[in-house]
């Protein structure tokens, strides 16, 4: 008995000192020796070496992937390969040989050792010189919530300079406290600490505490949970509003061109979707050219593509009007059919030229990434599209209200005969209006190429939505398109969590059909006798 005690004392005193002087290689050799307690000390010593490779070794040990070769007593890391094991050097990772199971002896660990390993690994990374690794370690500690780590965390907190990492450590410590056998007051303080961050990790800890034994702790935890839930709902609402605005901006871009041409000419242009698609493909073509000849200009690709898309789609639009719609004046249903034919031709033509598969259109740097606002994630590309949509809207408003051509357009919309009597060339106004609407569709295509697949079917997916916006918002003025698009976008997004994306869309369509009963000409309808035509 005394001898045992002495031996243990001897090892307890000598080993740490011995370990400090020992290298990682020597420690690894000692791992299979002795009992579990000895192994625990070796593990701690490995952690204390500060050697970067120690982390890999300990993780392998914890995963049961560290074994000893019976013949040579060497310690190796193994990977199972069918019935055999491929062995690797635990430090360098070099492959050694493939052995049968019989040739290897496992280095056994028990649950206590697992905790020691986890703590050691944790403390190694907690003290890592790299703040990102420390942050990772803090998140990991929060996840495990191991009470054994409290002392390590305290040491890390004391030594920490970086504020963000310190906050993370304090959160992790609070999580560990919840699982530890500590006084109630400490636990309540921990709950308050955890409540400040309302993410899923914390919620599960708090839920466990709310269902736990101690009444006081349970009450505090339940209150914290309710507060967290309220905050979640608030941010969830905000997220839906943001998505709705984003969808609305896309719909508005796609539909506003249609609203303009429908308002002035009374024809629904079924080829509108294809004009959007042409804008998207223009962007693709511009990017291809830039990629091939001047890759450093990629950031400017959209700025170049936008006016080009406007011109391309605009000219196609003018062509449609001059070639087809002009001859079908007064027959809106036939115009609808003829433009549908044009849309089929355009689709097939693009399919022939570019192929039926999706084309890759890249986001320039300034459009990539996202930022966080509370619990909202706002992506830059959608933000830019929202801004772009509003700018386009403002420009159109300016064109309509402040330019002579806009004046003529509005006159023809309100009363064609009277406008003609005043000397306005309504045929020319028709062409320009159609061209303008088509050009805006092209711009919409540029924007859409950033968030959606570019394929010949791009137009089809937006055409029904554009119709809905036009029908819902009315064709009296641009504000109809704006109001229609944004409200439909937001309604759609709010229905989605309850009904799923498809059903939400169906419900929106049904809603519009019913809405038309009440206001057959949409939200912002033109009034007056001449309008009935």
């Amino acid at each position: 008995m005394l001898l045992r005690l002495l031996t243990v004392l001897f090892f307890a005193v000598c080993l740490p000192a011995y370990a400090a002087a020992q290298s990682l290689e020597e420690l690894i050799i000692e791992l299979p020796e002795g009992k579990y307690d000895d192994r625990a000390k070796v593990i701690e010593a490995i952690g204390a070496t500060g050697d970067a490779r120690a982390l890999g070794v300990l993780e392998a040990l914890g995963a049961g992937a560290l074994m000893q070769v019976k013949k040579t007593d060497a310690v190796v890391r193994v990977e199972k390969d069918g019935k055999n094991f491929n062995t690797f050097d635990p430090l360098t990772g070099d492959a050694i040989e493939t052995l049968k199971k019989r040739a290897l002896r496992k280095i056994k660990i028990n649950n206590k050792l697992r905790r020691v390993i986890a703590a050691t690994v944790g403390s190694m990374t907690l003290m890592s010189p790299d703040p990102e690794r420390r942050m990772e370690a803090a998140e990991q500690a929060l996840k495990t919530g191991d009470p054994e780590q409290i002392s390590a965390l305290d040491a890390a907190i004391a030594a920490e300079q970086d504020d963000d990492v310190k906050e993370a450590f304090l959160d992790a410590r609070a999580a560990a406290v919840m699982n530890a056998d500590l006084p109630v007051a400490e636990k309540i303080a921990a709950i308050e600490r955890l409540n400040r961050r309302a993410d899923d990790q914390v919620l599960s800890i708090l839920t466990a505490a709310a269902n736990g034994d101690n009444a006081e702790v349970a009450v505090a935890a339940t209150e914290a949970l309710e507060a967290a839930e309220n905050e979640r709902m608030f941010w969830g609402f905000g997220q839906n509003v943001w998505y709705g605005l984003s969808l609305g901006s896309v719909l508005m871009l796609a539909a506003i061109g249609l609203a303009i041409s429908f308002g002035v000419m009374g024809v629904i242009n079924m080829a509108h979707g294809e004009l959007v698609m042409l804008g998207a493909y223009t962007t693709f073509a511009v990017q291809e050219v830039i990629r091939a000849s001047a890759p450093e200009m990629f950031g400017w690709s959209l700025v170049i593509a936008a006016p080009l898309a406007f011109l391309v789609s605009g000219s196609v639009g003018v062509g449609i009007e001059r070639g087809i719609c002009r001859y079908l004046y007064g027959r809106p249903l036939e115009t609808l059919l003829a433009t549908w034919g044009v849309s089929l031709i355009l689709q097939q033509a693009v399919r022939r030229i570019f192929g039926p598969t999706n084309k890759e259109v890249g986001n320039p740097d300034w459009m990539s990434g996202a930022f966080e606002l509370g619990q909202l994630t706002i992506t830059y590309n959608r933000l830019w599209i929202l801004l772009f949509a509003l700018i386009v809207f403002a420009l159109l408003l300016m064109v309509l209200k402040q330019t002579p051509m806009g004046l003529q357009m509005r006159a023809v919309t309100q009363n064609r005969r009277m406008a003609e009597a005043m000397g306005i060339r309504s045929g020319w106004v028709d062409s320009m209006t159609f061209g303008l609407g088509a050009g805006v569709a092209g711009l919409a295509g540029v924007a859409l190429s950033q968030i959606d697949n570019v394929s010949p079917n791009l137009g089809q997916s937006y055409i029904v939505d554009s119709f809905m916006v036009v029908v819902f918002g009315g064709v009296g003025n641009l504000w109809g398109a704006l109001a229609g698009a944004f409200s439909l976008g937001i309604v759609n997004k709010f229905l989605e969590p309850y009904a799923g994306a498809v059903l939400a869309k169906v419900l929106v369509l049904v809603f519009i059909i019913l809405f038309i009963q009440r206001r057959p000409r949409g939200l912002f309808a033109l009034k007056g006798r001449a309008v009935e035509q």
Partner: protein, 375 residues
């Protein structure tokens, strides 16, 4: 009433259809294989399909050519009729399906459903399925039409919301948990009324049924358009407000003809499905509904026979051209849309009619193809 409907042209059409109903199956069943009179079996099914499309086109012509309602969602009624028949055929499969379940169709077993949804009850009876073929499209048309016509939604707006209707149905039927087969639709049918769907006799029988249905549908349409109601319909088409001010209940007439047209489309769909062997949600797609309109436009609207001819012409062209130029058929279809509306506003038959009348110097029948006087 019937006597008024039976003018020379109608008699001719009915005769031709009856002749087809006799000779096509005969050419398939009784002519020697390899002889020039023999018709291969797939051709019988193909011609049957054309006749179903002709009935569908007829239904669209009834409301468009004679009442001015351009429905761009009639494919929905066609598909609903098709689904009703399809559901009956699915239940007829019984334990012979891949999973062998006597009650549940294969796709329900696949989705781990335990029992038949309530809307499938009754479809094991043929008479029930036939009733549903008429009732379901008819009810949808009634509800939709009642709301739309009551609010005086006309012209382009109406066309757009018929598009929305069929699009919504497309999205709904694509969902796998709706219980209608999801994106795969209903297929793998075995027999109808005890007759094996793959046998030549059944195909011939279905062809005869299609031809007779087309004949009956044509007769019904003729009775409607030659009756007093038909004249009111034409007046609604040409000057709706004036008709209303003269005291006619325009909404009622529109609703009547819209529901009738939907039922005809449903019957067309129901005959289509056993001959083609599958019904899937793609039939609801807006593009298909718009295609129906072009069949009517090509043939000549407002002439009934024009719709039949147009449907057959365009679909024969499609069959031939897709064999030759595959995808590029879409160019031809698009060009057809553009050219017919620009150059042939009266369609083929209307053009021939006009030619005939120019020769004989008789006045042309107004078919609504040219813009009429202001309301």
């Amino acid at each position: 009433m019937i006597r008024g409907a039976l003018d020379l042209r109608t008699k001719g059409v009915l005769l031709v259809l009856i002749a087809l109903a006799v000779f096509v199956p005969a050419a398939n069943l009784y002519a020697e294989q390899g002889s020039s009179l023999h018709l291969p079996s797939f051709a019988v099914a193909l011609f049957g399909k054309y006749l179903c499309y002709a009935l569908l086109a007829l239904s669209v012509d009834l409301i468009w050519g004679y009442c001015g309602i351009l429905s761009l969602g009639h494919g929905a009624f066609f598909a609903l009729g098709g689904y009703a028949m399809g559901m009956h055929l699915m239940r007829e499969i019984g334990p012979r399906g891949v999973y062998g379940d006597p009650v549940l169709p294969d796709f329900m077993v696949f989705l781990n459903w335990q029992e038949l949804p309530w809307f499938w009850y009754g479809f094991d009876q043929f008479w029930f399925a036939c009733l549903m073929v008429l009732l379901v499209p008819g009810t949808l048309a009634f509800i939709f039409g009642w709301f739309a016509f009551r609010s005086r939604v006309t012209g382009v707006y109406l066309s757009i919301i018929t598009q929305a209707m069929t699009y919504a149905l497309l999205l709904a039927f694509f969902r796998n948990d709706m219980g209608f087969g999801g994106n795969n639709g209903l297929t793998d049918f075995k027999d109808v009324l005890g007759f094996d769907l793959r046998s030549d006799n059944t195909r011939a029988g279905l062809f005869v049924a299609s031809a007779l249905s087309l004949a009956v549908g044509y007769l019904i349409c003729r009775i409607v358009v030659t009756s007093r109601a038909g004249k009111v319909l034409v007046s609604v088409r040409d000057a709706e407000s004036r008709a209303r001010f003269l005291g006619y209940r325009v909404e009622g007439y529109k609703l009547f003809v819209f529901v009738l047209s939907a039922m005809l489309a449903g019957v067309a769909g129901a005959l289509y499905v056993p001959q083609v062997g599958i019904i899937n949600p793609g039939e609801f797609s807006p593009a298909k509904s718009i295609e129906i309109v072009i069949w009517v436009a090509v043939g000549g609207r407002g002439l009934l026979l024009g719709a039949v001819i147009g449907a057959i012409l365009v679909n024969v062209a499609k069959t031939l051209l897709t064999g030759l130029i595959a995808e590029d058929w879409i160019f031809v279809l698009g060009a057809m849309f553009v050219c017919v509306t620009l150059f042939l506003p009266r369609g083929v038959l209307g053009g021939l009619d006009l030619l005939g009348r120019k020769v004989s110097k008789a006045p042309a029948i107004p078919t609504g193809a040219k813009p009429q006087a202001a309301e």
